[in-house]
């Protein structure tokens, strides 16, 4: 793209009114052209004002959204641990803005391991010792990383066009995860990572809420048929398994379920079995998934 072609597109560019491919071409031009681009700077400065000028009606997002975002971020962190390195910014390689728009005295340092501006750096150091409120999230994230990648894809609507069932299953699981996260934030909550038993595929996460109920998010369950139910069990030490409730599973192979309250101290085993019918007092069907209740190491929420 030539300089004059880029200038011609400046107004549309700053408003986001170009096709994305064309937008990318403009961005590429800005990153590589040494000529001044005063037009871009003049016009883009006004764009944030449009938010205020719009008389935007302020609407609170649903409360569960924050939990979903934090869980997805925790999962992303578990999947891609940060080494403290900062990806060099494409924007940082752009020519310095014209004198009318001076850069601050603290330059960004794309090649430095951490490119914090100094104020932020101080804050980072002073807050580094802060107890992680999200230890629990990290712990479950280690297992649900793949799930979250799925949720990320899920949010990119349209990619799953034609895979409606898959989308519904992912949504179902996403909702169940949100419930688990809600329970995991309660005082003295415990978390459980449920792994498939041998020969089974069922897996998921659970949180044991303050009242002792187990909030489960499970997937890859074989659909139940007839009178079959999945029964959840709490096993403490050598004691007999305590049945805490059951549910059926349809073709989406996914379940969100909250059990009856039970005594489940840290170290208790949570198990899921596939029972021939409701009301089993001891597991008679195959165990499909198990996990151990873990108390968050440091939780101040």
């Amino acid at each position: 793209m030539t300089h004059s072609e880029a200038i011609d597109r400046a107004a549309a560019y700053v408003l986001g009114a170009l096709e994305r491919t064309e937008e990318a071409a403009v961005r590429e031009h800005l990153a590589t052209c040494a000529e001044p681009h005063a037009e871009f700077e003049a016009l883009s400065g006004v764009v944030p004002a449009l938010l205020e000028l719009a008389d935007l009606e302020l609407v609170e997002p649903p409360a569960a959204l924050g939990g979903r975002i934090m869980a997805a971020a925790a999962a992303d962190l578990a999947a891609n641990p940060r080494a403290g390195a900062v990806t060099p910014s494409a924007a940082a390689s752009r020519p310095t803005p014209s004198a009318a728009w001076p850069t601050p005295s603290i330059p960004t340092a794309p090649s430095a391991p951490t490119a914090f501006p100094s104020a932020a750096g101080r804050a980072a150091r002073s807050e580094r010792n802060r107890t992680g409120r999200f230890d629990w999230a990290l712990r479950i994230a280690a297992v649900i990383a793949i799930v979250a990648v799925g949720a990320w894809g899920l949010s990119l609507q349209g990619q799953l066009q034609g895979a409606h069932d898959q989308l519904e299953a992912a949504r179902h699981f996403d909702t169940a995860i949100a419930s688990v996260i809600g329970a995991a934030g309660q005082p003295d909550a415990k978390t459980v990572i449920l792994k498939p038993a041998e020969g089974a595929t069922a897996n998921g996460i659970a949180a044991i809420a303050s009242d002792g109920s187990v909030v489960l998010a499970m997937r890859d369950l074989t659909p139940t048929s007839g009178s079959q139910v999945y029964e959840a069990w709490v096993i403490v030490g050598e004691a007999a398994p305590v049945p805490v409730g059951g549910f059926s599973v349809d073709s989406d192979r996914t379940a969100g379920f909250t059990t009856r309250p039970a005594e489940a101290p840290p170290g208790a085993v949570i198990a899921l079995s596939l029972e021939p019918s409701e009301g089993s007092t001891v597991p008679v069907g195959p165990i499909v998934s198990t996990g151990i209740a873990l108390a968050p190491a440091s939780q101040n929420g």
């Binding site: 096709e19 937008e23 016009l43 400065g45 302020l58 609407v59 951490t114 914090f116 409120r133």
Partner: protein, 210 residues
């Protein structure tokens, strides 16, 4: 803090942005608490923008989730001095929301899914400086300096997610006219807000506004 309060901004704008920058630096370092802090501060604004553009609550939630994950993953790309953290974050929300509505329109090119968050507005931002001295009447007065067709073109672009080509088709206007309406409208706003005649509109003033 309510980010929509106008009156306090003069005194608080820079300290809010310092605090935002500190939080963003922690996000870069992988601190979930800091992401939660930024989310709590801007969730209402973010969701409201997404909702206005998509007019669909579920889609707006997806947009906000995508945007905050984009912020989480790419916080290191924020460049200080090219606009406030707030502006950067809300630009990402806006960009994602526009992508979402364009994806719903089958005639439009489908954007890359995992494209890095937009960058588009990583340019200097006069707004935080300007907003300090403005009240709602002045803001309304600035808006009133636009002609109806300029305002329509800007709204269709910014809130409707239309490309300038689509605006031309929708309004039955030549592309060149749409381009100058958008440009002159933005320049007019700039003049009203900053009180600055910068000569950029010379030779075009009066054209395209009708």
């Amino acid at each position: 803090m309510n980010e929509s309060q106008h009156g306090l901004r003069g005194r608080t704008a820079s300290s809010v942005d310092d605090s935002d920058q500190a939080a963003l630096a922690l996000v870069t370092a992988g601190q979930l608490d800091a992401l939660q802090e930024l989310y709590d501060r801007y969730k209402t604004m973010a969701y409201s923008i997404a909702l206005r553009i998509t007019a669909d609550g579920a889609l707006a939630e997806d947009v906000v989730q995508e945007a905050f994950l984009g912020i989480w993953r790419n916080a290191g790309r924020y460049v200080e001095g090219r606009g406030s953290v707030k502006t950067w974050m809300l630009a990402i929300v806006h960009h994602r929301a526009v992508d979402a509505v364009r994806r719903r329109r089958p005639t439009t090119e489908l954007p890359e899914r995992e494209a890095v968050p937009p960058p588009a507005l990583q340019l200097p931002d006069i707004w935080s400086d300007v907003a300090a001295g403005l009240d709602r009447e002045e803001i309304a007065a600035a808006m009133a300096t636009l002609s109806d067709v300029q305002r329509e073109a800007i709204e269709l672009a910014y809130w409707g997610g239309l490309t300038q080509q689509e605006i031309a088709e929708r309004t039955g206007t030549p592309l060149g006219t749409v381009k100058s309406r958008v440009r002159l409208g933005l320049l007019s706003l700039r003049r009203a807000l900053v009180g600055e005649g910068d000569g950029l509109a010379d030779g075009l003033a009066g054209d395209g506004g009708t």
